[in-house]
Each structure stands twice: as C-alpha cells, then as structure tokens.
Amino acid sequence: MASANAPAPASPGARVWRRLRRRRGAMVGLFVILTVAIVAALAPWIAPYDPVLQSWTTVRKPPSAAHWFGTDELGRDIFSRIVHGARASMLAGVISVAIAIAIGVPLGLLAGYVGRWVDVVISRVTDALLACPFLILAIALAAFLGPSLTNAMIAIGVTATPVMIRLTRGQVLAVRSLDYVDAATSVGNPPPRVALRHILPNVLPALMVQSTLVLASAITSEASLSFLGLGQQPPAPSWGSMLNTAQRSLTTAPWIAVWPGAMIFVTVLSFNLLGDGLRDALDPRSR
C-alpha cells in the first residue's frame, strides 16, 4: 500500500529526460546543438571580424593567432563567417521543420482521423511527393521560386512535409481505435476536440524524434542548396556556400574547405545522435 507521503510519480517528460540523460551520445549531441544555437544567437558578439569585410592584404592566410581558421579568397575571416554561417544553418533547419510540422501534422491528423476520401486524397498526394527524391524536388522548387535562403527554407520545408503527414497519419491510425479515444468520443466530445486533446498528445513523442532527424537532413539540404548556389546568396555567409567557393582554392588554401564542412558534419551528427537517443528513450521496448 502506498504511503501518504510517497513521492508523486514522475511525469512522462521527466521519465524520458531521465532515460535520455543516461545515453552519452545523445547528451554529447544535445551539448553540441545548444553550443551551436548559442553561437548562432550571439554571432555578432562572438565573431572577431565583420564576416563580409574583404581585405586584399589578408587573402588566403593560413590559420594564425589573428585568424584562428585562416582567411578566404577575399581576405575574409573564416572563423567569423563560420560563426555567422551557424545562423543560416540553424534558422534553415528550424524554419523548414516548422513549415513541415505546420502543414504536415494537421493534414496527417485529418487523414488519419477523418479517413474515407479525405484520407485517400491526402495519402495519394503524399505518396506522389514521397516518390520524388528529396534533393531533386528541393532543387526544382528552389529553382522555380528563385535562389534565396528564404526560398530554400520553403523548398526544404515543403519537401519534408510528406514525411510528417505519413508519420502523423500512421500514429493517429494506431491510437484512434484505443479504448480511451472511444471513451472520449462516447462522452460527447466533438471530433476536433478528440483529435487535438486526446490523439495529438500521443503523436507528439514520435513527432519529436522525427523532427530531430528531419532537422539534421534540413541542415544538410540547406548546405547542399547553398553549395549549389540556390540558398544563401553571397556575400552573406553560409556553410554550404563557403564550401562552394573553397573548391576553387583547394590546392593553394585547403583550410578554407575544412571548417565549414566540419561544422555541417558535427552539427548534423549531433542531431542524429540526439534523435537516436530520443527514439531509444521513448521506445517502450528499450525501457
């Protein structure tokens, strides 16, 4: 028998956090993500130089005390450009995922909960969009919308939407026939309330894991589009566009190519580590 002063059971969020904390990889990932986010937010105060300031006296200088990561083909400080480039990457990741969630979750809920012809239409369009390779569709959208960071974010967000629709629909189908949903319906709750108050919270854990993984691929996609010249436009810094220009100086100044790619790699790896950790922490089989 439980005593009167026994500690209250931990909330589901606290339980997940406790399990997540035990996963070293996920915690390292979370630490790196938070660091990159803080660097992106405080970029103007952290960067020692103006990221677009050109200097003909410091063209292609190797790393030194004055320029920690060296300088590029226009004499710009690479460290400052990396710090400011973090903004474009994090912003692109977060906004793309927000677009995918904002469109994908309501449509997935609608398809899974309403069913019938609504489900057929939404599912068929989702299948068609999923049949289009992610990067090719993003390139085509960015090409037709015009090259800019905003359009790249829209293109990546729209391209990632079908994944969110399919995931939400699948989760809704899995829980909508459960007893507690039947009970909520039978006591007279209107369908939108059942969908939003009773079904959606059960979809959230899977969405959280998927969002982390989509964030990782959104950051890679933004870098890819910027690398191709379809994302962030020069002279504004972005890790992808920095790699594009670095290609021209590979033999004379290889350090220009090392840092932006390493940053994309470490950030994407961190999101993947966190996503894996979250999935394990939320998966009842791993408890």
Binding site: P133, A140, L141, L145, G261
Partner: protein
Amino acid sequence: MTRLIARRMLQLLPTLFILSVIIFLLQRLLPGDPALALAGDDQDPRVIAEIRRQWNLDLPLPVQYGYWIADVLRGDLGQSMRLNTPVADLIVQKLPATLQLAVMALLISLAIGVTAGVISAVRKGTIVDYVANVVALAGISVPNFWLGIMLILLFSIHLGWLPASGFVPITEDWRTSLATSILPAFVLGSHFAGVLMRHTRSAMLEAIESDYVRTARAKGLGEGRVVLRHAMRNALTPIITLGALEFGSLLSGAVLTEQIFSIPGFGKLIVDAVFNRDYAVVQGVVLVTATIYVLMSLLADIGYILANPRLRG
C-alpha cells in the same frame, strides 16, 4: 502472386498521375507571368506571345496539362531553350554516366554496409560493434559534397593517386573509367553504406536470436555456417528491398557528387538548367527521376514478394 504484383502495378497509376500534375504545376511557381519569366531578358512582346503559344500558356490550366501529358507520354519532354535540343535527347545522353555512378555506389555501399552490419551483429557489444556503429552514424551524417572535397584533397592533390575530375564511360575504357569513378561512387554510396549497416545489424540481431538459428546451432553446425547460411539469408530479404528503394535516392545524391567531380551526368544537367533558367529541362529531369524512383519501389515490392515464400503462393 501474379495478382499481387498486378494490384501493386495498378496502385502506381494514381501516384504517377498526381506526380505528373505536381511536376506540371512547378512551372506555375514562377513568380508573376510564366511567359515573362521564361522570356528572361528578352521582353519583346512578339517573343512573349510566341512563348505563350509554344507553351500553351494562353489555354486553361487543365487543357495545358492535357497537352503536356500527351506529349510526355509520346516521349516528348519539351525543348531545352538554352541548348535548343529535345529534353528527352539530353536525358538519354546524360543518364548513362549517372546510372554507372549509382550502380557503383550501390555495390560499394552493399559491400561495406552489409559486411560491417553482419560483423557488428555477430560481435555485439564488443569494440568492433562500437566502432562500426560510430562509423555508420558518421557515414549518415557527413555531407557528401564535403566528403568529396576532402577525398580529392587527400587522393588527388596530396597523394596524386586518382584524378580529381572527369569521367570516362565503362564501355570506352574500363580501367580509366574505374579510376575516374571510384572516388565519386564511394562518396555517393557513403550515406547508404551507413544506413545499410544499421539495418543489416538489427536484422541480423533479430535473426541470430530466432528459433531456427538456435535449432541450427543445436544440430551442431559451425558458427560460420549458422551465420552465413541461416541467419544472413533471412536477414537479407529486407536489405534487397532497401537497396532497390535507395537506388532512386542515389540518383538524387548524384546531383552534388557530379557537381564536385565535374561528371557530365544527370545531376549536372539539372544544376546547369537551373542556372540557365532552362525550366523544361528541370521539369524533365524531375519527372524522369521520380518515375525511376517509383519503378524502383515497384521492383522492390516484386523482389520482396518473390523472396518471401508466404507471399509467393
């Protein structure tokens, strides 16, 4: 089984139809009047009127789609405005290089991913397993355009072992072809090798703990035979499906790889078309890539049906 395959083929029709509508509507994303956007710098009213007529832009949207899809079904994907060549001809010209690259990337990723996955599962919990997992996650996370640049730095610039760019078709000179395409194929396959390793590992772990493997061990078979003949054979069925599905994604990844290694393939075609506002080429490439992707998923399903005795009926 035949009915199952036929039903799966019929299910593809609505997907292909919706896909064609989406790709057709891409052109409508052009800001403002598409005819003006297509005319580019040439704002002569006669040129714009000609473009409107040539692209059927003066007709209602469903009629425009009807004309467009009828042409597509006849194999006419339009005309490249920059090269003044039929888009279908350009695609036929460029596709072999990309296909060669994608097939090589698939073989490399299968060799690395499946081997590492099997070893990792058999040595679960050891340092080998840990290292394989870390390498797989790194393969999944590394941006392939950066990996390409780093490998060019190492193998082409520092060591001078392999060429940094260029492409020779395998039908011309297989030795030079391998030398020019081994780096790009490795770069293109690195992501899938990581994905495959993780899938193979979990499928193998499941197989190793199953009753039939326990029975095989109880019969006194050697561990190598148990792993290779019993566990791996069953674990590899989903891998076949994954391989077929991933082939379409490799075509997409080739865009970046071809750009880095200057390979005159499909990916380079779409990127050049984007920068030259050659919208018919962009549409054509997206349509063909998506169709290949859909057909590969059909092949994956057929492969799964054929490999699964319960579905073979």
